[in-house]
């Protein structure tokens, strides 16, 4: 075999004495699409950040194109030919799409000034490659997460790197966009570019990757050609359990369609509209029922959730709680009425970075945890302890700042925040985003358990599997309207895709 | 080149470009001009530079633009206000400097402005020192000096006048000299601290009465007896200071009167009448001691 493009060996890194990586290794060849897998907190992102100079390693060597290197900043990494899409979106939301694409590599006129015309052309070029049609002069932050994610990918892909690193690029993309992304990856690959691909969607790995490296608890426990593995092998290696255990459990844990939902409607939306692109939403969720919300990007699913949670003022329609009209004017009011909402945007709408895991987890519960404004700390601790165990949150201790947790573990804390208030109605916008396969099933199991206890759930997901297996009913949205309601059992993927796409013409 | 003339008439548009309004002395001065306006037939244009010499020049500029007949200017600083004086002259507006002067090397009374009405800060410091050397009973004077705002001309001058005069008397030594920013609170704080470091102090010279009062409070809080074991001398002649003198807590305060209005009116009228004005219309500053304090407290501000 030829000299590998990248060879990392014996990488060790600890944060404040707690090891994140111990003796991790990774080898990539030119033109290879290589996957890095592992549970939440296994150290994938950390390994990547060590490679690109965001963190300094405690020990270990990095060989790049045959030479030992020591990159000190992301800039150096880029100059060496490594382009990276980090797990947390790292773009500048206030600036325009064009700027976010060309920042740092602006085309210049003869006088050394930025040539905005060329920059725009380059941006359009990148966008069209991903089939995105948008106004590149608008602030990036005004677009949904998925678009931003695509822009980040576009930026990285346009840098002509030797190695392109993608840390969970598809976590907010739907299947169609994932296909586009794969097209781009294949094209890059054919040009000899290597790709490190991190994802918790194992099917994707089998589709796009050549090789795989498995991390467990900061250690590289295996590397192989992906063709030599089955999905079960992969899961077993990640979790450190035998394949047999896993087989017995089945793939998703929602499987709600098996139990018929019999309760009365907890929440009903009648003709809801907001001036945020929600045109008309009709919906009802019964106690003990999971209703899925499906739709393409921009179809307004998030907007539907925001309206139900009192975040956007209604311009038409009304919300009924237990059959009674309810005024839900703010998230605070919604929470008081027993509604929870797990946002898809973990970073800006979820975590309070400097607060601890404990403080983050109990934030929505506080009014019930305190008397005359004083928090009952003993009770708080016991509740947090319970959820850390129940959700398998990997944290040094409950007083660790949440920003130090891995992405997936942050997500679990946030789920815990909403489960803790024991909601009657829970809105989950991409609840298992960035969560590893093991944890995903645990989370799904917990959701199912809540539903069986009578909780009503509105599940927004871009994963068809999750919707089809999990939801009793699926409401399909298009352009801000709820257009169809499909009933399980019996919904097929084709049917769903058809319903999502067809309406556009209607 | 001659001074611009001033025609004699009943009513004048008069500019008074105050430097700042953050201490009782300045406020009394402004009030004096306002009170005089009614009796002297002034239509007063009042500006306040908020302690900035540059803004004071801009203020004078805007008065010139408004077409004032006469300018009364208490220049915040000696040099930086020269452009204001020159521009007023250029616009044919007779200018009287009030309470502080400008750099005589560049602008001169009788040529660039009519006259300077005011007292002599250096002299004030010197007179405070003079009283001290005459009346100090002990044989060793340990002095703490509370300076005015660092870099301001009264602080510099009052320090120079006092320090030069006291240097001639071997009994005295200044152990600490420190800014109290012309304010009571700051004067008190600085005094409290210096008193801890120099417990043997028996004389305090403050550049104004407010700081002197602050020093008295600090001394009392430390269990000292101002007036008995510590002699306090100061400048200004405020009501509180006169009261302190009457109460025996303070030795002397050299008057620095803010009541310029009547003098300004008088001088301007004379100038309009064609009289020659002396380059320096000196204000006769009194000196307040136990002998005359009670008599004058009624007129103090």
């Amino acid at each position: 075999m030829t000299e590998p493009l990248l060879q990392m060996t014996g990488i060790t890194k600890a944060f404040g004495g707690v090891p994140a990586l111990s003796d991790a290794a990774l080898t990539i060849h030119a033109g290879e699409v290589h996957s890095l897998v592992g549970q939440n907190g296994a150290g994938k992102s950390t390994l990547i950040k060590i490679l690109t100079g965001v963190y300094r390693r405690d020990a270990g060597t990095v060989r790049w194109q045959g030479r030992e290197i020591d990159l000190k900043s992301p800039r150096e990494a880029q100059e060496a030919g490594i382009a990276t899409i980090y797990q947390e979106l790292t773009l500048v939301p206030q600036r325009t799409v064009i700027e976010n694409i060309v920042l740092g590599y602006e085309p210049k006129t003869r006088f050394g000034m930025i040539d905005w015309r060329v920059a725009e052309a380059r941006t359009r070029d990148v966008l069209s490659r991903f089939g995105i049609d948008l106004d590149p002069h608008r602030a990036l932050g005004s677009y949904p997460t998925a678009i931003q994610q695509l822009v980040a990918i576009g930026r990285a892909a346009s840098m002509d790197a030797r190695l392109l690193i993608m840390d969970e690029p598809t976590s907010s993309l739907d299947e169609r966009e994932v296909e586009v992304l794969f097209g781009v990856i294949r094209q890059l690959k054919s040009q000899g570019t290597a790709v490190i691909y991190v994802s918790h969607f194992l099917d994707e790995l089998f589709e796009i990757c050549d090789g795989v490296t498995i991390l467990r608890d900061g250690r590289t426990v295996g590397a192989a050609r992906i063709a030599d593995l089955t999905k079960l092998d992969l899961i077993a290696a990640m979790l450190g359990r035998s394949a047999e255990d896993i087989r017995r459990a089945g793939m998703t844990e929602l499987a709600a369609s098996t139990t018929p939902a019999g309760g009365s409607p907890v929440i009903e939306a009648e003709g809801l509209a907001t001036d945020r692109r929600l045109r008309r939403l009709d919906l009802s969720v019964r106690a003990g029922q999971i209703v899925g919300l499906a739709g393409l990007l921009e179809s307004g699913r998030t907007e539907a959730a925001r309206a139900l949670f009192g975040m956007d003022a209604l311009t038409a329609g009304q919300i009924l709680l237990d059959g009674q009209p309810a005024a839900i004017a703010s998230p605070r009011a919604a929470i008081a009425a027993g509604i929870g909402f797990l946002s898809e945007d973990r970073k800006t709408e979820g975590i309070i970075p400097d607060l601890s895991v404990r403080e983050n987890l109990t934030l929505a519960l506080l009014p019930r945890l305190s008397r005359m404004g004083v928090i009952d700390e003993a009770r708080e601790r016991s509740i947090v302890e319970h959820f850390i165990r129940a959700l398998g949150i990997k944290t040094a201790h409950m007083d660790q700042p949440i920003r130090e947790l891995s992405g997936g573990n942050q997500q679990k804390v946030l789920l815990g925040r909403w489960l803790a208030i024991e909601p009657r109605f829970l809105i989950l916008d991409e609840p298992t985003r960035g969560v590893d396969v093991g944890a995903k099933r645990e989370i799904q199991a917990i959701i199912r358990e809540r539903v069986e206890q009578g909780c009503a759930v509105l599940l927004i997901s871009s994963e068809f599997e999750e919707l089809i297996e999990g939801a009793h009913d699926i409401v399909v949205m298009q352009e801000g309207r709820s257009v169809t309601r499909l009933s399980n059992p019996g919904v097929t993927e084709d049917q769903l895709i058809h319903a999502m796409a067809a309406g556009g013409a209607a | 080149q001659d001074l611009p003339p001033l025609e004699a008439k009943d009513s004048y548009k008069v500019g008074f470009a105050q430097t700042e309004s953050n201490n009782p002395w300045r406020i009394a001065q402004t009030k004096s001009f306002q009170d005089t306006a009614a009796t002297c037939g002034w239509e007063l244009v009042l500006t306040d530079a908020g302690g900035s010499a540059a803004k004071q020049v801009a203020d004078v500029d805007s008065m010139i633009a408004q077409g004032i007949d006469v300018l009364f200017l208490p220049p915040r600083e000696e040099s930086p206000l020269i452009p204001a004086v020159m521009r007023a002259k250029g616009a044919g507006i007779p200018t009287f400097l009030v309470d502080r002067s400008v750099d005589p090397n560049v602008a001169q009374a009788g040529r660039d402005y009519v006259s300077f009405l005011g007292s002599d800060f250096i002299d004030q410091g010197g007179r405070a020192a003079g009283w001290l050397t005459e009346n100090f009973k002990g044989d060793k004077g340990v002095i703490i000096e509370l300076e005015g705002t660092t870099g301001s001309s009264p602080a510099n001058d009052r320090k120079k006048g006092f320090d030069d005069a006291i240097a001639g008397d071997s009994r005295f030594s200044i152990v600490a000299s420190r800014s109290g920013d012309f304010a009571r609170d700051e004067g008190r704080k600085v005094m409290e601290t210096l008193l801890q470091a120099h417990p043997d102090v028996n004389v305090v010279y403050a550049h104004n009465d407010e700081m002197a009062i602050g020093a008295i409070q600090a001394l009392e809080a430390a269990g000292r007896k101002p007036g008995e074991d510590v002699t306090i001398v100061s400048v200004d002649g405020t009501r509180d200071a006169l009261q302190a003198i009457i109460d025996g807590k303070m030795g002397v305060t050299v008057e620095s009167s803010p009541f310029f209005g009547p003098l300004a009116c008088d001088t301007m009228k004379k100038y309009a009448a064609g009289e020659t004005i002396t380059p320096w219309v000196k204000v006769e500053d009194r000196i307040f001691t136990k002998e005359n304090a009670a008599e004058h407290i009624g007129e103090a501000y």
Partner: protein, 319 residues
């Protein structure tokens, strides 16, 4: 055009225009060559420091040292004024640049929070100015050509200093709009961590804005000495707040990431006009506003402009 007047920037132009019209209608000689040239001369200092502050704020930083740095530069320039403009001007600007470099070192190098780092420089520059000047204003040499800078005007209206300030403004605007440095400045303010991860030269940009701001303050200080006849160690108190207010009234967010250089200039001029109007109002003889009332009115005026800005910016923000 849209860049110039867009978004939350409208309020400041509207207010500026309204006040000028108001002044022109209400007072004689408000729009006279004399008042105009004096106004432009005095305010060129504030335009300069505001532009420097604008770039700093775009990165999400702040520079509290501009006022005392200008004072320091004025002292340096005044002391060197006997050697003529050709020496005193660069020396004053260099003093400003040096102070800016000190800020940059603490902020980009040692990663101190800008507020505290520039607060330290603010104190140190004042101390240095007092020390150099031995606690008193330093007269300039009137015989040299140094005072020409501050005193001379083009066509009797446009002071040289305002012309220079405008050149600096245009340069700053070009840098922000058209250079990668300028775009990096905005990116840092938008999301410093992301800018770093995107591989931008964030250090360089941070150093640049503080040094630039220091240079602007230095230039303002040179003008202070040249136009007002002395190096003034005590001048500059509160200038930083005036500059911050100008920037914010110009529609720039203190959190950084966006902002407008021209609107900042308008903001600086706006506050100048308010002072000027107050002086003229006092000259009308109807009411005489005491200094106390004047500050009440200035605060109230700031409130009105800010509320106007909030109103005008709201609909835009919603979209």
């Amino acid at each position: 055009m849209k860049r110039l007047f867009g978004q939350g920037h409208v309020a400041v132009w509207v207010a500026l225009l309204a006040l000028i019209v108001f002044g022109a209608l209400r007072y004689d000689n408000f729009v006279s060559a004399y008042n105009l040239s004096s106004f432009l001369g005095y305010n060129s200092m504030f335009v300069l420091i505001s532009v420097g502050m604008c770039l700093v704020i775009m990165t999400g930083g702040i520079d509290l040292s501009v006022g005392t740095v200008a004072a320091l530069a004025s002292v340096v320039a005044a002391q060197l004024s006997p050697h003529g403009l050709a020496v005193a001007l660069p020396a004053g600007v260099a003093a400003g640049l040096a102070a800016g470099a000190l800020n940059a070192g603490m902020i980009a190098g040692l990663r101190l929070p800008p507020f505290m780092a520039t607060l330290a420089t603010m104190l140190a520059a004042k101390g240095a100015a007092l020390r150099l000047s031995e606690n008193r204003a330093v007269p300039v040499d009137w015989a040299s050509d140094f005072t020409k800078l501050g005193m001379n005007k083009i066509a009797n209206i446009l002071p040289w200093t305002m012309l220079i300030a405008l050149i600096v403004v245009v340069a700053a605007w070009l840098i922000v709009q058209r250079s990668s440095l300028g775009r990096t400045v905005l990116a840092i303010g938008g999301n410093a961590e992301a800018a770093h991860l995107m591989g931008l030269k964030t250090h360089r940009a941070e150093i640049f804005v503080y040094v630039f701001s220091g240079g602007c303050a230095g230039l303002a200080g040179v003008y202070l000495a040249s136009g007002y006849g002395a190096g003034q160690p005590l001048e500059g108190a509160g200038w930083e707040l005036a500059a911050i207010a100008a920037v914010v009234v110009g529609g720039t967010l203190l959190t950084g990431g966006m902002g407008s250089v021209p609107a900042t200039v308008a903001g600086a001029l706006l506050f100048g006009v308010v002072f000027n109007l107050l002086n003229f109002e006092n000259g009308r003889g109807t009411i005489s506003l005491s200094a106390h009332w004047q500050s009440v009115i200035r605060g109230f005026f700031l409130l009105v402009v800010i509320l106007l800005q909030v109103r005008l910016a709201r609909p835009a923000a919603k979209k």
